[in-house]
Symmetry: C2
Subunit: 209 residues, 2 copies
């Protein structure tokens, strides 16, 4: 009977460390985010921290992994309850772009930028980057109700994610939200035309694929 | 008669320091780019370096400023010699996107990311960011032969620059050039439709603006 609560406590400790890592990275930057600072902020002993994450790299990659997964899970739950079409496209693009702002993006940016000048860290991040890109694309396709087998649609969904990343970067130093809303509105209209054209092509030739 | 060569030498020293700063930032990262490292790499004494740039921040912001200006100057010289239309749009978007990869982008990314967790550095960078954004937009409009007074065109040119920034970020850890070429091709086609529509609107109602 003591097993379950102990596991729960351990899970809660782990979670506090991961969240503290993201906050430290976003607020203090890469260099200042040491295991000691993260542990203190989470109110977890150094010993318990090292039990969960033997190295700084373990802690940081686990934090990115965990936060990406929570974000994707939340996105799936919040899929707009409207049929595919311009309103849905705009709602999805807007939510997707907002995911590339705030603490998680800033934390990831700290790690990615450090990796640009650190080959060992880069090797470690590549599988994460590959997985994040793949899952984010699949999620965007599903939420847009898009036909990803259409090559134009495939590239334009990719471009939407690249645009979201660029808008995230533009928001790092200043609050860019007003301009971002306008960009989202105009791009969503363009993207919706692409999705609509693909739907018409498929309707005209349903056996094409 | 000794004045001119001395000025030339001083200018050449300054230039070597600025180029060395960009290379150090891109290769070694923010923390490792100290005045000492930059000076040694440029083969310039500490005294001469401090004469040109009293602080590390002076050196780094001057380096970003200088490299941005050289890049813009080069871009102006290389404006494609084709009339506005789909070929020109693709050539301009492609070149624009390539400007957001490589050493200068990586160097700027190091500084921007450090500023995200450093309010004093952020204050210092804001006027640079504002100027870079404004000049890059104006340059893109001219090279595309676009009518920036058209609100859809204005936003889509902005989105193109945001996309370029996002593609630059995607290229930091891995060589993303093959995928990027495809995105550029599809995005340019989309942008060209927007530019073409704006041209038709203006032709149909030349007094509208």
């Amino acid at each position: 009977m003591t097993r379950e609560p102990k596991q729960d406590r351990s899970r809660a400790t782990r979670l506090r460390l991961l969240e503290s890592t993201i906050d430290c990275l976003a607020e203090l930057g890469w260099a200042a985010t040491t295991v000691g600072v993260v542990a203190e902020r989470a109110g977890v002993s150094r010993g318990a921290t090292q039990h969960h994450f033997p190295t700084r790299e373990d802690l940081i990659t686990a934090a990115l992994d965990f936060m990406f997964d929570s974000r994707m899970e939340r996105a799936r739950k919040e899929t707009p309850d409207v049929p595919p079409g311009s309103a849905r496209t705009e709602a999805v693009v807007s939510r997707l772009v907002e995911q590339y702002t705030g603490n998680l993006f800033n934390a990831a940016l700290q790690v990615w930028t450090a990796a640009a000048a650190d080959p060992a860290l880069r090797e470690r991040l590549l599988p994460l980057e590959e997985r994040f890109g793949r899952v984010a694309h699949k999620e965007a396709v599903e939420q847009l109700g898009a036909d990803d087998s259409d090559p134009v649609v495939h590239r334009m969904v990719q471009a939407t994610l690249d645009l979201a990343r660029g808008l995230g970067l533009a928001d790092v130093l200043t609050d860019d939200s007003a301009r971002r809303r306008e960009i989202v509105r105009h791009w969503a209209a363009q993207l919706d035309t692409v999705l609509e054209d693909a739907r018409s092509r498929r309707a005209a030739d349903p056996l094409a694929r």
